[in-house]
Symmetry: D2
Subunit: 358 residues, 4 copies
């Protein structure tokens, strides 16, 4: 069944595998009249790109892109915007040695179980390369949201057991000043050291990306199934390697009492605000105008250098050896993907909310 579309009114459909000629995305439902900034799309793609630093996979992927439709004289026309990113370094040879072998914690076995075959060259649609299409779409979406003063910023808040100290004030402008994308410089250095150490071991490590959405007006979301945080949660959980999502107080809420968790309302110069923000900017599934914040947990990348025991597609004992060029830690490159998916959710609900009242 069709399963490559995300969103209701502002909607993307992605396509492409690493072994094909290209990957890409159709953005359908972007309103007419938006000025498109191609350089911004390039910059966003560069943030996700392999080879951007010593901390990430050295695999070469060219992230040139073409806008095939939906833009006329620099502005969106209201029709579908198709963006194509050619595959230039397909390297299916790198994967030939693993044909038939079910790599541990990869999608090889589940693909076989579902489709009656597996994609021997880089994981097919479960390859992280698919997320480049999301980032391209996310760039268009962020441009759209800026028209309304909405900004979305993500950063690395934890790698392994190294996290930004609590109760410290951080400057999100600094996120892009280091290759880890951690806005707290001292922590960034420690994270970098850990990642390099893990890489030397031929191993990988998990991490956390946090995200902040500011400028979101109150009223976005819906009270039942399409709660704003439910759609954000699905969006994040649809990103490769994500194992958990929490917003506002998140899992910490379990040990809290109502009297300390409740966010007291106050009138701040004519605007309704809350003194605290355990709600994470969303109450009853609907934005309340406060900043929206959430955390996303990423597992350690499944591809490791050391040999692992496994079975092949005939049920025979086999050994999986990780010869490909892979990330020791996925979170530095995940930051723009988290932002892109968040932007898509907010844009969709921003448009949906135009129909709430007569």
């Amino acid at each position: 069944m069709a399963a490559n579309t995300f969103g209701e009114i502002f909607r993307i459909t992605t396509f492409g595998e690493s072994h094909g000629k290209a990957i890409g995305v159709i953005i359908d439902g972007c309103p007419a009249g938006l000025v498109i900034d191609s350089e911004f799309i390039s910059r966003e793609l560069a943030r996700r790109k392999p080879g951007q630093s010593h901390l990430v996979t050295q695999r070469k992927e060219d992230e040139n892109f073409e806008i095939l439709s939906g833009v006329f004289e620099g502005k969106t026309t209201g029709t579908p915007i198709c963006i194509v990113i050619p595959n230039t370094d397909q390297r299916s040879r790198d994967y030939e040695h693993i044909a038939g072998i079910y790599r541990p914690s990869h999608a090889d076995y589940t693909y076989d179980a579902k489709y009656g075959h597996r994609d021997p060259a880089g994981g097919g649609r479960s390859s992280a390369r698919e997320t480049a299409a999301r980032v391209a779409a996310g760039a268009v979406t962020k441009t759209f949201l800026r028209q309304y003063g909405i900004e979305i910023t993500a950063w690395v808040s934890q790698v392994g057991d190294i996290s930004i100290p609590e109760h410290i004030s951080i400057d999100l402008q600094k996120t892009e000043t280091n290759p880890v994308r951690c806005p707290h410089s001292e922590t960034a250095v420690r994270m970098e050291d850990l990642i390099m150490e893990v890489r030397k071991q031929g191993d990988t490590i998990g991490g956390m990306v946090s995200c902040l959405i500011t400028g979101c007006p109150p009223g976005l979301g819906a009270p039942v199934f399409d709660k704003l945080h439910a759609d954000l949660g699905k969006a994040m959980l649809s990103i490769n390697a994500v194992k958990g999502f929490e917003y506002g107080s998140g899992f910490r809420c379990i040990t809290m009492k109502g009297s300390e968790h409740n966010d007291v309302f106050e009138n701040e110069a004519g605007q309704v605000k809350t003194k605290t923000n355990h709600s994470g900017g969303i109450q009853g599934g609907i934005s309340n105008g406060m900043p929206i914040n959430f955390n996303v947990a990423f597992k350690p990348v499944a591809t490791i250098v050391r040999a692992q025991e496994t079975v092949d597609n005939r049920g025979n004992q086999a050994v999986a050896e990780g010869k490909g060029r892979h990330d020791p830690c996925v979170v530095p490159r995940a930051v723009p993907i988290v932002e892109a998916m968040a932007a898509l959710v907010i844009a969709d609900h921003l448009l949906r909310d135009r129909t709430s009242r007569i």
Copy 2:
């Protein structure tokens, strides 16, 4: 915009507020030929019902229900099944004293912001009463899944800082033997004490519900947006008071290395299994045949007895006083809701998977 529908092929649409005549659900897409067990629906509703024990709200809600359509001589016909649950104890008077006042961490303000009005009687669609409709639908859905040997079981794993000890073997058959719905009897007693203590303080406390899905065949889910765990995550985050979702290793994955997190495949009597299950039964968004497990974090209920400062809908300072009858802790009653939503996701993907191959 329409936002009260969940699922693609096996799909529910719920309706109703506590101040109306009834709440209910349409189940559309349930295949023909399923034997419906009305008593099972009743039992499931009773698990969610207010007043079922001293640990939950003493508000009276009658959970009688009528099946208006879609069932003929005890079997589903393939047409929409409408189940209606009348509201018998509407008690809108209980809420009159709060009209115009924005209760902290309730949806009063965000409703106003979205719809230009608020629902003065019990929270409208953001009332937890809506979840009774989900539980009724969930009972039908579980019956459907049993045809395929799929069982879904949830339980309370944490209340406040009291949780089931790690590495202890628990017997899920015991979940229903105590009012907390914790399968570990000693822990259940401690949870019960904590909830009663919190109630005496006029306060509330958060908790966690865990869920296990067994018998799910490999191949359910999709590689990109409709990952099985992404749909489970959205389903859980759409339940009132949920602040976080994690599956398999969850947030613990952050501090793990790939070499310890990877689940090694083995051939167990002709079936592909994994030695560990950090993947939580899902790899690349697709079920792998191992048990699926996940955790859901519930915040402390926002309604507390003590008076709280707030503002009203004219921006004036006001005081919110909690006179309604509410739960000191939501998780005992959340257990069947978690199961219902999980069942809907699995049933939908079970049917979706029928179209994966020619």
Copy 3:
């Protein structure tokens, strides 16, 4: 698969068979703030009701209804509106004699083929009774459209070979002055005579319903799949017994030349108009502000009094005898159904168009 939902943003889901306790509809996506007129819903249901005149089936159906949700103090709240119409005269005994027999041109055989069973009592979901739910929803929808000056009016334009003379001016206010619902009184009398004659023969006759939508602003619809007339066409073809749909010039366009078919634009007091309206108010799938008009062909009702040869569900030769009380001609009662479905399409596109531009 779920198939009982119509519309994207303004969306209905219907349920119910004649043998169940009730039929009904959920309207999801109706904006908040609309004043609901229950008497208007009743009047609309009365226009579709059996037994309303000597021209239609004398079967008794009570068309009482209850609004279970979505309306508070007479206004829509933005949440789903559930309307239930109880079945009071189920009379499944009337149908017992046909159990297992495939009535010619009924859905008995195709139901069997699809669901592995047939619904022996009145045709299940293929019974015209389901359309009462659409008419109830249509009444709410028309009320919504009136806020924007949009009026939808249908009438009977042909019964058998009797049609309103071409190039005659008709007064649509007169439609409801006769039981046929033909606005041209002389033609109405001839139609009435024909229907009574056909009834005496124990036979049935086909007919045509025409519809006019005025006040529709330019800009509704979409250029590709969701052309306004494509959605109107699907809406009409989803009504029982419909065999054809045409809009504007319709099938007559086949013999026309471009030079005569083209609608020349002119500036009428600052508004763009067309001199002729072969386009039927829709160009390139998008409304142009001119009146929208279309025709719908209804076949003769399949249930006739005379005995018909057929087979039963074991493939044996059998005889179908029509003992139920049925309509000799369906179009007088189809008029409000056509209006209801047209209203749903326009309302949906009216809301969809709110997201066309930044």
Copy 4:
């Protein structure tokens, strides 16, 4: 709002305008394991191609295409198939003279009304070029349907007032033997003459395409909104220039009596058949195993050579002159488009029907 997607389970999304770099389509939901025949896609595109005969526009469009994804070693993988058709002869200069002028019966004015701009170069998404993407997708879909013995064949049955004589036996194999695509050779010659005459006059003429679907199993479709013929109707009405749709007896049913219209069932060697087929292979919205047949009315192309009075986007009087190269009659090239859209509907319902029973 997103509006460029068609289908539920087997689903296409098209993109592209004639002024952009390419047009194309994503097919999402095509089951894994289908052998793709690129040459067949080429042949189908050639049937729709401009310049294929003296009867159609002499505009040059290259119909080379690339499959960017979803196919591995010649077989579908179950992931989205993206097919791109580059624009090589964009010729936006041809249209410069009409910038700002609302061409009669084109989408210029309605685009302006909807999106706040018009697409000055060839009609944007309302250009018939978009249908090439549908034909490419249709070729894949027909290949899929052939796995199940389902064949879809369309032909030209009328041009202006010239139609294939009734009650004549026609051989659909002959459709492709003449440039009109009329299977009755003598009628084809007369149609050809009429089209050439109309072209000489600088005018255009309407026509009708008929379609036959054989091998469709009973049980496809749904009883209420998603009736098989309702989805076929929407599919056809979504094709440019279509003004009407009828199936089976179509508009002729209006003058028929039930006793002559009803299709009597009979047992033909163990299979349930009907003696006549006024039902057009569909009863109660569900296929009955008999051939499905329908007619589609196409208006005369709006672009004519002679000058036409009109207004421009400032409301000033203006003259539209048709300098582009256009079709004198659209039906010969519409035949493969009708087939493609029909194939998409049947494929979608074929997969949907896999979930009807437990």
